[in-house]
């Protein structure tokens, strides 16, 4: 128990190589972030600016408290798809008038800010975060509505966005829409379902049907302004609560609305002194082996993340492939579960189940640092009850109600990913380091398993196994899984909330721990039956 010492030598050759490899990955990530920031490209951005409009991120920056931090979520959404990386929207948590808010902004420079299935996946995840963590939401609206060519996959989740706005409001979580431009057809329900609306004069345009469709439907001839202009909605329909003179004025009004929310966080807040760690977070870059097969000690990570590098380890002598213990980050007390040597055995699973219950008993959030290849397999382990011991851990994780925050710092495979509160287990937040890998199992193992199954099938049918075809199949599977297990691939699908620079780990964890304290931090009253 106590202060973590570090044995890591950042000047060692291996560490230098690790650092170079990690920096190369960060460079790749940064290039994609630049792509996301560039929106629809120079020409579209220039045209947008010529109209006197602010870009999506400029709107957000002007909305935020000056110098406050902002955590952008899902910047890699839709990576490697037909859609622009970032999915034509920006979303994140920022501080407005000292209130942590979920902020979403459509990017009108990318296909008119239309929502494709990935945009909706991002919006729905943002709403989920807002709901479970109690974050007032602010939507900065300027969108052409649904991306019509993909309407088949956008129609249903699109409706859920409006449903969620209503549910947020019902849960006492205020929803605010600042409308900068078009918000028509289905999009009209974003302001329609929001608690507070600000429309920008001469810019906001909100109607169910524009002039052509109205003429088609009823023969009525009506102009844009009388159908859905900001003045009309502010003075006649009442859909707009505040008429903003211009874009900055809308953001000013949005800030005033938040200031008047009388917002109170329901969590207990930080209780410890937010002392910096004793070891330099910069060294995290050299810590992760370039070869994912080489394990590393997560205590070296904790020494660069926890307040004052203080870590009171629980059950250090038992189940030592998983370290558990108590510490704090930016003053917020946490319980930590971190894979120390890849594999989860029975002892590790039982220790984790106990530790998770302890955290629930004392209402302390849990931080999971993933670096696991899975639960141990083999005759001895099956007979030793690895399934029921794994089930203990999964039961504890599944029913734990204290906030879970995960960071995939290495691999995260198979059922161990579930047991470590992987994305399927609803952690409040899940982040990946750029080197992270996650899938049902490793590409070689998966290819090998398929190979063995194919050989078995051939043998069962009395056919000769086609080695050539088998090797090609193995290689194809390995290539596919290698590509799918990367942090970018998972992040592009929305299976984490962001890929983060390892050096930002403490900041990001401190950020989201503060965020989760908007809701009460309360442990579970009961768990499922623990199979003994």
């Amino acid at each position: 128990m106590g202060i973590l010492a570090s044995t890591f030598d950042p000047s060692a050759t291996a560490a230098q190589a690790n650092r170079a490899a990690m920096l190369a990955r960060i460079e790749e990530i940064d290039a994609l972030l630049a792509q996301a920031r560039a929106g629809g490209g120079e020409e579209k951005v220039a045209r947008h600016r010529r109209r006197g409009k602010l870009l999506a991120r400029e709107r957000i920056e002007l909305l935020l408290d000056r110098d406050s931090p902002f955590l952008e979520l899902h910047p890699f959404m839709a990576w490697h798809t037909d859609f622009h990386v970032g999915a034509s929207s920006v979303c994140g948590i920022g501080v407005v008038e000292d209130v942590e808010c979920m902020i979403g902004a459509s990017d009108p420079t990318v296909r008119g800010g239309t929502s494709n299935p990935f945009t909706l996946r991002k919006s729905l995840r943002a709403q989920e975060i807002a709901l479970v963590n109690r974050l007032p939401t602010i939507n900065l609206v300027e969108s052409g509505g649904a991306d019509l060519p993909t309407q088949a996959d956008a129609f249903v989740p699109g409706g859920a966005v409006f449903r969620n706005l209503s549910r947020l409001s019902a849960h006492g979580i205020p929803t605010i829409a600042l409308v900068f431009g078009s918000s028509t057809a289905g999009g009209a329900y974003v302001p329609g379902m929001s608690d507070y609306n600000v429309f920008v004069s001469e810019r906001a345009k909100v109607f169910l049907a524009g002039p052509p469709l109205v003429k088609m439907a009823t023969g009525e001839e009506a102009g844009d302004e009388e159908l859905g202009g900001a003045e009309m909605h502010s003075r006649t329909s009442g859909l707009s609560d505040y008429l903003a003179a211009d874009e900055p004025d809308a953001l000013r009004l949005g800030r005033e609305i938040v200031r008047d929310l009388n917002w109170c966080k329901l969590g207990p807040g930080p209780t410890e002194a937010p002392v910096d760690p004793r070891h330099d977070p910069e060294e995290l870059l050299g810590l992760v082996p370039a070869d994912p097969k080489v394990p590393f000690d997560p205590r070296e990570v904790l020494a660069r993340v926890l307040d004052g590098s203080r870590y009171d380890e629980f059950k250090p002598l038992y189940g030592s492939a998983l370290t558990t213990g108590w510490g704090s980050i930016h003053g917020y007390r946490v319980g930590v579960l971190a894979n120390a040597r890849g594999i989860l055995f029975s002892q590790e699973a039982q220790k984790a189940a106990q530790f998770i219950q302890l955290a629930n008993q004392k209402d302390v959030p849990l931080v999971f640092l993933h670096n696991t290849t899975g639960f141990m397999v083999g005759k001895d382990y099956e007979q030793g009850g690895i399934i029921k011991h794994g089930a203990l851990m999964i039961n504890a994780v599944a029913n734990s109600t204290v906030p879970h925050v995960g960071v995939i710092i290495g691999g995260s495979y198979g059922a161990a990913n579930y047991a470590m509160s992987g994305r399927g287990y609803d952690p409040r937040f899940l982040f990946s380091w750029p080197s992270a890998q996650s899938s049902v199992m490793g590409p070689e193992q998966l290819a090998g398993v398929l190979d063995i199954v194919a050989r078995g099938a051939a043998a069962a049918r009395g056919l000769e196994f086609d080695e050539e075809h088998g090797r090609a199949l193995r290689e194809a599977v390995e290539t596919q899984i290698s590509a799918e297990q990367t942090a970018l691939s998972n992040s592009g699908r929305g299976y984490d909330d962001a890929i983060i620079d390892p050096r930002d780990t403490r900041t990001v964890l401190g950020f989201v721990l503060s965020v989760v304290h908007n809701a009460p931090v309360e442990g579970a009253d009961g768990f499922g039956v623990f199979r003994m």
Binding site: A36, E61, R66, D67, P69, V95, D98, H330, I500, D504
Partner: protein, 633 residues
């Protein structure tokens, strides 16, 4: 003497009180309505409100105040009633001790023509002069037309040639009549490139007059003293002895009792001539006090009750005084009104002041903020320390003549001791000390950042402005300068951009809401940051940050005329729709019994008139909106 009333305000009232406190004499202040919050009022044992802004001229009310408070003596300070023989007589008649010379001496010296005549008779050298304008040729050109009752340059005209004399006489008489109620003028030979040197004298009731050395007040702007010093760099021991003897002769000639000043004009050849006697304590008396070690106010009080005047001690070192004013050298030294937000002058100099941080400088009185006086072993030491303390002084919220004073004190001609009365005509000293305020703006932006982080209640411990996907810099806009910055994940300054130009290698060594230690180009500098100004060792940059948002409801239409002060509308001279020319009077406001004309800022049409006669308005209220004509239409 048990209790002394000071019939004056501001710094001179405080100056007299401080001597009273040391001597164990009780203090009484009188104050006008605009001075109700004055520092001197709070420092006095008792204070009496005497009325509007001009009440310090109301002798009867002041004497009544002395009676009510049991004061047994009155000190007039300088200005107001200090050289009013009638008031001196009234004080005597009321049975109170008058701290000043006899009414007769005041009267004798109040008329410059009479004073000249008496001094000439006593053998004190005077300039060629005449009371009869027909004698102009005898006086010789160039000459000065001066008001007999004058002072402060009013009613004074320089005439180079005989043919200009008539016009100068007419305008001098008009001005003198308006200013002093007496249009008597006289002629005096003008001595170009001369110095203004005056001798401090103190006379006692036993017929003895002692001289306490000279003061050199040559650095003047339009006959207003700017810098004063003792001793004069142009006076040696022999000259001092001769001038002192002349001054003592002058004092003895009129039986002078109390502190007074005999002013001389000193030519380049060492010849000196009598100008006038000031029958009061001078504004610039501190320089004499510092080099003699004598408390002149104490001496005034002692001789007033019959004590003998002591011998003047030898002069030690050199003292220089600078008059710090709320005025704008860039706009013809126009007085500035407003709130002094910060007022700090470092130790090492004497600061005689009537103001403090938070004081409001109004339009009613002379806008002098302080007399700042340095005493050094040598003149160079004194000048250097005074310039330094002034340059570093924190004077926020108002425009001042500080930079101008520092420029004078650092001017080679001044430092060489060669500044004469034409110095400020020949040299423009109004350049700002800190010509480039960009780094100060950057420091201000960074300090404000620190202030916001310190005040944040949410995510306050995270790195300032942290982003996982940084898209733009944090920005701050000041009038004329834009600053952008970004802090890195480790909390260190990662980017600093001023007016679009990145400052490579900028390092931030310390950053608090008040103090910034910023390194640029390998040099660390410390910036002290306030709400409206930044101070460096080299000078002050006045920097107001422009607001991030403007509330359209609070925005004032362009062309708006706002009320400069709270008051009432006396007259409205235009109607809505009227076409007006630039500087045309539109309406008259009355505030504190003073009338102020509100002028059209530019030619145009009166679009809105928001007030009528009789209306009460607050400072900043919109009175009218002028639709300014488009140029070229």
């Amino acid at each position: 003497m048990r209790r002394l009333l000071v019939a004056n305000r501001g710094e001179i009232a405080r100056r007299v009180f401080s001597t009273c406190r040391r001597l164990g004499i009780g203090t009484v202040a009188v104050y006008s309505d605009p001075d109700a919050d004055g520092l001197f009022v709070r420092e006095a044992d008792a204070a009496v409100a005497i009325g509007g802004p001009l009440a310090y001229l109301d002798g009867a009310v002041i004497i009544a105040a002395a009676r009510r408070t049991g004061a047994d003596a009155i000190h007039p300070g300088y200005g107001f009633l200090a050289e009013n023989a009638g008031f001196a007589r009234a004080v005597h008649d009321a049975g109170l001790v008058w701290i000043g010379p006899s009414p007769e001496a005041i009267e004798a010296m109040g008329s410059k023509t009479e004073a000249r005549a008496r001094m000439e008779a006593a053998g004190v050298p005077v300039l060629p002069g005449a009371t009869d304008v027909a004698d102009a040729d005898r006086v010789g050109f160039p000459l000065l037309v001066k008001a007999s009752a004058g002072g402060g340059g009013r009613g004074m005209r320089l005439v180079e040639r005989a043919e200009d004399l008539a016009a100068a006489l007419a305008s001098a008489r008009r001005e003198a009549g308006a200013a002093f109620g007496d249009d008597t003028v006289f002629l005096e030979r003008y001595a170009p490139r001369s110095r203004h040197v005056e001798i401090q004298i103190v006379g006692d009731a036993h017929g003895r007059v002692a001289a306490f050395g000279e003061r050199d007040c040559s650095v003047q702007r339009r006959h207003q003293k700017v810098i004063e010093e003792a001793p004069s760099p142009a006076v040696d021991a022999d000259l001092r002895a001769r001038m002192s003897a002349a001054a003592v002769t002058a004092g003895e000639a009129i039986g002078y009792v109390g502190a007074g000043t005999v002013e001389f004009l000193l030519s380049g050849d060492g010849a000196f001539a009598f100008l006038e006697v000031n029958t009061r304590l001078q504004v610039e008396h501190p320089v004499t006090e510092l080099v003699t070690g004598v408390d002149l106010v104490e001496l005034q009080l002692r001789v007033a009750v019959g004590e003998p005047v002591p011998d003047a001690p030898p002069l030690v070192g050199h003292a220089i005084e600078a008059r710090l004013y709320a005025e704008d050298p860039a706009h013809d030294f126009l007085p500035v009104t407003g709130k002094l937000e910060v007022f700090e002058i470092a130790e090492g100099v004497r600061v005689d002041t009537g103001v403090e941080a938070g004081s409001v400088i109004g339009p009613h009185y002379d806008p002098m903020l302080a007399k700042v006086v340095a005493h050094g072993r040598t003149r160079a030491h004194a000048a250097q320390r005074l310039a330094d303390r002034l340059a570093r002084a924190r004077l926020h919220g108002m425009t001042t003549n500080r930079d101008f004073l520092v420029n004078v004190l650092r001017h080679p001609e001044f430092l060489a001791g060669e500044a004469d009365t034409t110095f400020l005509e020949r040299h423009d000293c109004s350049a700002p000390l800190l010509g480039d305020t960009r780094l100060a703006a950057a420091a201000s932006a960074l300090a404000r950042q620190a202030g916001r982080r310190a005040a944040a209640r949410t995510l306050a411990t995270l790195p300032s402005g942290w982003r996982n996907n940084p898209s733009q810099l944090q920005t701050a806009r000041f009038d004329g300068v834009g600053v952008g910055y970004r802090f890195g994940r480790d909390g260190a300054l990662a980017e600093l951009v001023i007016d679009g130009e990145p400052l490579a290698g900028a390092r931030l060594h310390e950053c608090t809401p008040e103090l910034v230690d910023l390194e640029t180009d390998g040099v660390r500098r410390r910036y002290r940051v306030g709400a409206t100004a930044v101070n460096t060792a080299d000078g002050q940059a006045d920097l107001r940050e422009l607001p991030r948002f403007t509330d359209p409801a609070g925005a004032v239409p362009s062309g708006s005329l706002t009320s400069p002060m709270p008051g009432s509308v006396v007259r409205v001279m235009v109607a809505e729709g009227a076409t007006v020319v630039a500087r045309q009077p539109l309406l008259v406001l009355e505030a504190m019994k003073m009338e102020h004309e509100v002028l059209a800022p530019a030619a145009g049409v009166v679009g809105q008139l928001r007030v009528t006669a009789g209306a009460q308005v607050q400072a900043g209220a919109v009175l009218a909106v002028i639709d300014v004509s488009e140029p070229g239409l």
